[in-house]
């Protein structure tokens, strides 16, 4: 698993993808920070909550070629004929993408330090928001990875993941438009943004943690099945 993790992590930075993703994160978090700083409300966790817009755009970039490229370039033959399990292949790739994603939040830590040096704020609310962002990212990366495992084309994977990201993040807007109450409630429950927004308040919400963790686990499992299925095709 470590071999695959290291390779995939490096691959993000031997192509422009890693730099673009980090640049987007850094640019927007810096912009948001300047904005709230001038507004006089130095709450870094609000920056993270606003970042959900960027996350929607960024995770498809991270996951688009994660599985599809192996299939197109036939490098999956190296992975699948090596003495490693399918789980460690999928997990190695997933953790590599998640690490790059997590690196995107490094500046927010610096901002939090700056703020802490000047005024007293609740450091825990920053940590909750950060945890929420990582969990949301993990779930979206797992979903994107599964989509990437279904196709040979990274462009198709990126577009599909992007569309699905928008749908599941902002499903609550869709839900409010539907008159049938139980469908509206169901859509409301699926909407990632609601679960994510709960991390913006100071109260730590265990069900929301489980929500994201179980979605991540489910799609990692599906990615493994998708790899396995190809052997039987």
């Amino acid at each position: 698993m470590t071999a695959i993790f290291k390779r995939e992590f490096k691959a993000f930075f031997s192509t422009p993808v890693g730099y673009i993703v980090l640049a987007a994160f850094y640019l927007f978090s810096g912009y948001f920070f300047t904005f709230i700083y001038q507004m006089g409300s130095p709450e870094v966790h609000n920056i993270i909550m606003t970042m959900s817009i960027i996350i929607v755009f960024v995770t498809p970039l991270l996951t688009m070629r994660l599985m599809s490229d192996d299939r197109r370039m036939k490098t999956d033959q190296a992975l699948l004929t090596a003495p490693v399990s399918l789980y460690s292949i999928v997990l190695g790739k997933f953790l590599a993408a998640l690490s790059v994603f997590a690196l995107g939040f490094v500046p927010t830590l610096i901002f939090e330090m700056i703020v802490l040096s000047m005024v007293e704020v609740n450091f825990l609310s920053y940590l909750y928001a950060l945890l929420g962002a990582i969990l949301l990212g993990a779930a979206l990366i797992a979903i994107g990875m599964f989509i990437s495992s279904l196709t040979e084309s990274s462009v198709v994977a990126a577009i599909l993941t992007f569309v699905i990201n928008i749908l599941i993040i902002y499903a609550s807007n869709l839900g409010s438009m539907i008159q049938v109450p139980w469908i509206a409630t169901a859509i409301e429950k699926i909407a990632f943004i609601n679960a994510f927004n709960n991390f913006g308040s100071t109260a730590f919400s265990i069900p929301d943690v489980f929500y994201f963790v179980s979605i991540t686990a489910a799609f990692l499992f599906l990615s493994v099945r998708s790899l396995e299925k190809r052997r039987w095709a």
Binding site: M73, K74, T75
Partner: protein
């Protein structure tokens, strides 16, 4: 070392591999021969655990590939038809990745350097794989298969894309490796198999149609002792003249290969030597016999004949195996005599 029994692989409704069985003992070098789409690569992919099998049993060094995939895979070095290379990596970096992936226990950098020297890529160690030529990429793939010094090497067309000098180098390398490895090699270059392998498995339409040494295969097919005659004459007359020579079963014209002359393939009846009679017939007609040679069959021709045979039965018949009513044919032949 490798045991395959009753192996079948089905893609949807298409049966790509039909009930294939063979066994390869330690240290053997085997050639897989067959036209495109015969199922060679599919069989190799199943042996290496890349594809699953529909039916049958495959074991490597006693480890079933379906039940103990990791143990089986540890013993195999695989070079697929298209080398599985990451274009964004440098040669040495890629081999280090394969080294980690295979969980090899040797001292890392010494082992990688040794392998790179073996396939002669040490001077491109720090170049990006995407900037290498096809021949070099092929060798990097070969190096990947050799990492960890596995007992079994499975090489799917290892010399494709190499120049003649490199082909000879790789061929020599395979011969050398064959001394202490079990090797399965597939190739379209038949002379390669003849040069390197002690045993050939010919596959067509997903079935094994022959499993023998190259020598005995060509012997089996060439026991008809047919001869080729080059005669200065007109094609039609000579065809007629030759077909009435005593002991001649059939004559076919091979066309004009040299100005003013024609080549004829003369197939004699069983146990007949017709060379003297042919010579006399030609000179009695006042024509000149330019050459007379035995139609020595090469492995290439064996291969072509076997794979062009429409069915499994036909191919087996060509080889003179008794399992498909050859006796009946022999009786017919004798009756005709």
């Amino acid at each position: 070392m490798i045991e395959v029994s009753g192996l079948s692989k089905r893609y949807g409704t298409h049966l790509a591999v039909k009930d294939v069985s063979f066994s390869i003992s330690k240290g053997e070098v085997i050639g897989f021969l067959g036209p495109n789409g015969a199922g060679k690569s599919t069989i190799m992919n199943i042996l290496t655990g890349y594809l699953s099998l529909t039916q049958g049993k495959v074991s490597i060094d006693g480890f079933d590939v379906m039940e103990y995939p990791e143990e089986a895979k540890k013993r195999i070095g695989y070079l697929p038809e298209i080398p599985p290379l990451y274009m964004d990596m440098k040669v040495k970096e890629y081999l280090a990745f394969i080294f980690d992936l295979k969980k090899v226990k040797f001292p890392k950098s010494a082992h990688i350097n040794e392998v790179m020297k073996l396939v002669k890529i040490d001077h491109v160690a720090n170049r990006l794989i995407k900037n290498l030529s096809k021949g070099y990429r092929q060798r990097v793939g070969f190096a990947g298969a050799l990492i960890g010094n596995p007992d079994v090497l499975i090489l799917d067309e290892p010399t494709v894309g190499l120049d003649p000098k490199q082909i000879i180098e790789i061929r020599n390398l395979i011969s050398r490796l064959g001394k202490n490895h079990t090797i399965i090699l597939s190739s379209h270059i038949l002379s390669e198999i003849q040069a390197v392998c002690k045993r050939v498995i010919i596959i067509n339409q997903g079935q094994i149609i022959a499993d023998d040494t190259p020598e005995s295969l060509s012997e089996r097919l060439s026991n008809d002792k047919s001869i080729v005659a080059r005669i200065m004459c007109s094609e039609k007359d000579m065809l007629e003249a030759l077909s009435t020579v005593k002991g001649v079963k059939s004559v076919t014209s091979l066309g004009c290969k040299e100005p003013n002359s024609y080549d004829f393939l003369i197939e004699p009846k069983k146990n007949c030597d017709v060379r003297r009679d042919v010579f006399e017939r030609v000179s009695s007609r006042g024509k000149t016999l330019l050459s007379l040679s035995s139609n020595q069959i090469s492995l290439e021709q064996v291969f072509l004949r076997l794979t062009e045979a429409g069915s499994y039965e036909e191919a087996r018949k060509l080889l003179g195996f008794n399992d498909v009513k050859t006796e009946e044919n022999e009786e017919k032949e004798e009756a005709a005599n």
